[in-house]
Symmetry: D2
Subunit: 444 residues, 4 copies
């Protein structure tokens, strides 16, 4: 199910589905039926009540518009849902209706439902990360020897390889996914504390019901309820946000490589992608745009979440009310960025010829550092720096190869043999550790 | 139409409706039909084409799910919409289909549609602000003489009046709405620039078509297209965000006054408001929670928008792609906060007796400043400060009226007559400019 | 005085000076001596006391390190400052010492001091904005006819002029400065409320002292103290933050134009600017880097300020404690961005020849829209769009002028005469409203 | 050394010192001398040069004001520092001067210096966390049996223990510190890549020099330079920001408990802490204010950092220029919050009598849930809920014990025996899992 139009550049369809009314409802209902089963198993409520509750707890039985409307008055969707569920159970089994939501509080429902939804999101994110990491590893391997300009502060610098660049994206994203995955694992625990977080209303059966509930939902049973401590959730969202930054970096690199004047790479077009409504010649970096949009939106969203952590006492005023749309937006933005970059990486056009041509267009001035090192031991790094600064300027204004300009300078020829000098601007000879770094980055 | 459950604490229904698929679609279609009419009026396209286009441009003719899905591939909903609209026009009038979207680019559609939606939002916000400001003015007037504790750093301080407090909220929110309203007026202009913002494709008719288009849509015709300059939009959203801060301040004050131990005010309950799923005795500050949630979410959202202003050249990569969900969220959060505070203010329970009792419970120590001023001219402010610090401590530990403790101190009785001393803790006598400040705040 | 090294890329020297210990101290002391003079003028304290206080209130008399250290324990620098000032006054005139800080509270000192500092900042910002706006107007005027590529989503688009681009920056920054200046004017009011904001300790003289104090400091006397309502400050900072976005947009445009492969503009180098420690050939966009760094830092800072607006009752816990470093950082970042862009604009190298060459390098494909409009009325916009998409692809792969490729297509030649066709890729003929828009933007 | 006055509520003195000019300078110089030693050890530069460089590399030899000023023109402090260092070395040993900064680029200096500074910060943070965690564990243990109101949405709820509350803070902060510490360990690696990140200028000795450099500085040698990938740094700062949220939560709880009307806890006063300049009776929550100010400032700062991650290619324009003040501010804010909460926790006054009194003041209505559970199995949860809602209202308006009101209701007495009913409002009997949860939280 696609998102609303207003959100059409903010989420993948898969993640829009995860947080759809149907799934949100079902997750809350899953909590209620699991609670009933757990309580019945521990002898706290009748077995028959659990069955009746589980039977009624299907999303299609509920009117999401009405619930949403009442949620706002109640300050939580849990209250109207519990009421509707109770009514529905009562219709079938009046005795069972007495035991709906037994021992739980609203936040138990919504927090645990959230965790169930996040579990669903994790699977999709994992799949999309797999696609992306596989594609990047492949790109890196294929382009181990593809030289291209290094660019620092958007100015030409000594060469790198496209393989190293892709390996850099790969390693950052792999580290990032590993952090996210760890945080998902940490966060996937039920919230179950009752009114004040002590499970007092369940007397001496609270712990047993809690354990059983966690088992029912295949979630962890935490040391204690976490209703007023949102750090694990925050740590998960923070990891997601850091990853959006890394994805944005990759997207910006690609968008810059796709510029007409650079033209070293291009994301796939065709089939409704990347066109313009008025410019027939265009091939726009749409995947990059979406990833960059995520990278731009997510830091502020995370800030909102972190601000909302300052919850008062056993349940905050406003803090946890703010959470759902923030969490949804971050997770959706992340998946959109990952999926977009996966699509871009899987079918990326890389123009190695143009990469080489863009190096040549610098007339070899980018090798000034190399010459500086050769002159430095004799002239000093700083004297050489000044000499070469001037030579680079002449090379560009006079449109001559840098090494030719240097061949006119006695300070240079005194130190560097003509034969050596002539080959100093071969990019393949000035890659340093590029291949080794690339290998190490891909091995992790 | 209520929002999705996940957003049920993030928007009013009215604002959910403004950004619903139907309205978003219709706003984009309104642009296309207005453009066609404008172009026809200026003789740029045939009159019949304009009629056929206008006729087809009804939201109910389009499949929003399909458009949303294609929008993501295209990087904008405008491209698939223009395509669908063209197909639909063609079915009725093949010649007219040639002239759909004539001279415009995608961003012209989406930006102008956004402005049309914001115009709708402005009306709702205006109504809700009216309600709130009227209610606050009434509250302030009614409580001009209701004394209550001042509280600084959440500690008791010399008295204020509830009238002054309400007038403070009123004045801040009135200033805030005035800023917002000004920014709305500034921002309500069409975006119409074509591919690069020069309207080149309309030859010498660009300006005329632009003027006519603005007139058709009852929007301003700006000095130049603003596709790459989002400052007016940013200024509007910034004004909205500042207002959320002021609303959050009011909500926090109310939530604090509603604490069981303070109990000086209460927002209306009943009819599904403010209950708890497990605690029958509760009357929760739901309106405050929603306003505070807005105040917590919005600053980060604004940060995201400001970050996205750094658009590249004539149309950014990612920046404007990030905008829609941010703008929607800010406007919706603001309306929710305004409407919530309006509801709270209209039926606020104010307990003047409890307010007085809470003052009395300080044993009069909050008047230490008053005594200090009387002693200061003789003893010096700082010597008096130390003396009174100690006396206040004794008053609280010994549970005696502060002025009684003072009556034992020769340093005090030497300066202040017993008769005067005894009445120094009358709150009504130590309100300074409260009434005058209140009047000035309400007059603006 | 230059900033600390850690802040060396975060503020101009002038703005570092504004918030230096000396100036902060002096601003607080200016409040105290103005208060004393005002109180004396109204007969509230002896005239001699006012003179003694004013005499002692010179920053050089105080140890800023000690004050800073004590400020942290006290939660505000005002408390230790008042104590030190009292001690100093006492040494000279024990009676006068009794009247230091008469009727004021700590926040009165720090808030009013802040406003005094901001007034100083406003002057510097105004001067730097003047420089920038003058330079941009000049650039725009000089380049009214300098054609260059339009670029949307970083892809080549129909031409614009550099004049129009510069005028766009100019107009956004002029609008922005006008908003900032209005907000400064709104915010430049004293804070003077005493303990709870009622001036109760001054009895019936509060208003008179307040008026006199405002006059002494050449600040406005507000309707009421604003200690707990930070909206005017927030609105000022928001306006500054929006401006940072506009400056960032200009900086990004310039940095992109400076890329080696584009090379259409360059900010001034020389004299320690823009070099590299290891690459002698480099001319880095340092001014752009600084402006972009500001644009990246400021949105989050503003979010922090907006979050801190939710102050509790008459004085918040944490909210106003958070303000100073945020405000300082935003104002400093803004000035650094303005000053950097002023420097860049005043000596910008613009390479009109390269701009033309970069247009030519597209082989004329960017005029596809123009052709589409000519074909559209006959073929339909959408049919023409597809045809030209294919032709543009061939133009680029076959490295032929776009119009030559088109000359082979009967669908085209049937509609467009060969003579017309041949000149369709003249940039100067496809600028639409560029000159008129530029004029309008510069006139505001 | 205390911070500037403007930052006096933004950092501890210890952390102000870590990022002082002296330490920043020394860290950069430590990089240069370690590089020289490493290069000499690998035979890349003469041993004598390394000694001369190391000898000159002392912070006191350099003028920080001049460097700061030049840093802004250069876009980095590294360039003027390398120049000054070279000059200084030359004065002593002209040959050695040739080899300063051999093979490195500016970012290598500043990034590695940053890591060295962060290592210093880690130690201080670790010590302050130890203090805080020890104090909290002690508080929790001492108050295992101290009952107090639970409070949800700032309304009274069934009881908890202060021990459980303190254990909740403890566990969240312990988890948080563990995340931070892990991220420090991950981030503590040298940055060493030369111009484009390939170490090309060192030929085949890059790896060896890099390894030696890392060993010299006792930092890790990473898989590859991380100049353009800031995710490890971002993850560290994100962990710090999450911790600020947890600290803010603890501070808000404390500030609320310190309210005059609640009065259940108080942070230590005396010695310049917590007074007011005008109110002698005040004991302000200064430590809470500072921690809350940190919690309010940090989310926005982190957002700024995350936004700046989108670095272009091999070195960004603006992104990394923005980093230093953001990083400094986050780390300093964190330490201030930790140290403040440590101080508060170490000498916290806890008023168990008042806690009990505040429970009693609810008339027992907070046990409505307990009664509901007893009635629920017979009447149904929802019927009981309505009945008790009404009874709670009567209890409060009629000022009678809740259980007494219930004793009048046949629906209740039919189910619950009078003897049982009378004791249902004993807080000690309705603590559920409080003690067990506390134990588990402290054990982790």
């Amino acid at each position: 199910m696609p998102p609303r139009i207003i959100d059409s550049l903010a989420t993948t369809e898969a993640l829009a589905e995860v947080f759809s009314d149907r799934q949100v409802l079902q997750a809350m209902l899953d909590f209620e039926s699991a609670l009933a089963r757990a309580a019945a198993r521990e002898g706290v409520i009748p077995q028959g009540a659990a069955e009746a509750i589980a039977c009624a707890a299907a999303a299609e039985n509920f009117d999401s518009a009405e619930l949403s409307s009442k949620a706002q008055r109640a300050g939580t969707p849990a209250i109207p849902l519990v009421k509707s569920l109770t009514d529905r159970v009562r219709a079938a089994d009046p005795i069972a209706a007495r035991f709906v939501h037994w021992g739980a509080t609203s936040q138990d429902v919504t927090d645990t439902a959230l965790i169930l939804l996040l579990k669903g999101a994790r699977k999709i994110l994992s799949t999309d990360h797999d696609r992306l990491l596989i594609a990047l590893r492949k790109l890196a391997s294929e382009h181990e020897h593809t030289v291209m300009l290094g660019r620092t502060l958007l100015q030409p610098a000594p060469p790198v390889t496209f393989g190293l660049k892709a390996a850099g994206w790969f390693a950052a994203l792999k580290r990032g996914w590993s952090r996210i995955d760890t945080r998902f694992a940490e966060a996937e625990a039920i919230q179950f504390g009752g009114a004040s977080g002590t499970l007092a209303s369940l007397g001496d059966r609270g712990d047993a019901v809690g354990h059983a509930l966690a088992a029912e939902l295949s979630l962890k049973y935490p040391d204690a309820p976490w209703h007023a401590h949102r750090d694990s959730l925050a740590a998960l969202l923070a990891a997601c946000s850091v990853q959006c930054g890394s994805l944005g970096k990759m997207a910006r690199d690609l968008a810059l490589l796709m510029q007409g004047e650079v033209a070293e790479a291009a994301e796939p077009g065709g089939d409704g992608r990347g066109g313009s409504s008025t410019m027939p010649h265009k091939r726009n970096p749409i995947a990059c745009s979406l990833a960059l949009a995520s990278a731009q939106r997510v830091p502020g969203l995370l800030a909102s979440f972190l601000s909302s952590m300052v919850d008062e006492h056993e349940r905050g005023v406003g803090g946890w009310h703010a959470e759902w749309p923030i969490i949804t937006s971050i997770i959706q933005a992340l998946d959109l960025a990952v999926a977009s970059m996966a699509e871009a990486a899987e079918d990326l056009t890389v123009d190695a010829v143009r990469m080489r041509a863009n190096i040549d267009a610098t007339r070899g001035t980018i090798f000034a550092e190399r010459v500086m090192m050769l002159l430095g031991a004799t002239l000093g790094r700083d004297v050489a720096h000044k000499l070469l600064e001037e030579a680079a300027r002449r090379s560009l204004t006079e449109n001559r190869r840098f090494v030719e300009v240097l061949a006119d300078l006695p300070e240079v020829t005194r130190v560097i043999e003509p034969g050596t000098l002539r080959t100093l601007d071969t990019p393949e000879d000035y890659l340093g550790m590029a291949a080794i770094f690339q290998k190490r980055l891909l091995e992790r």
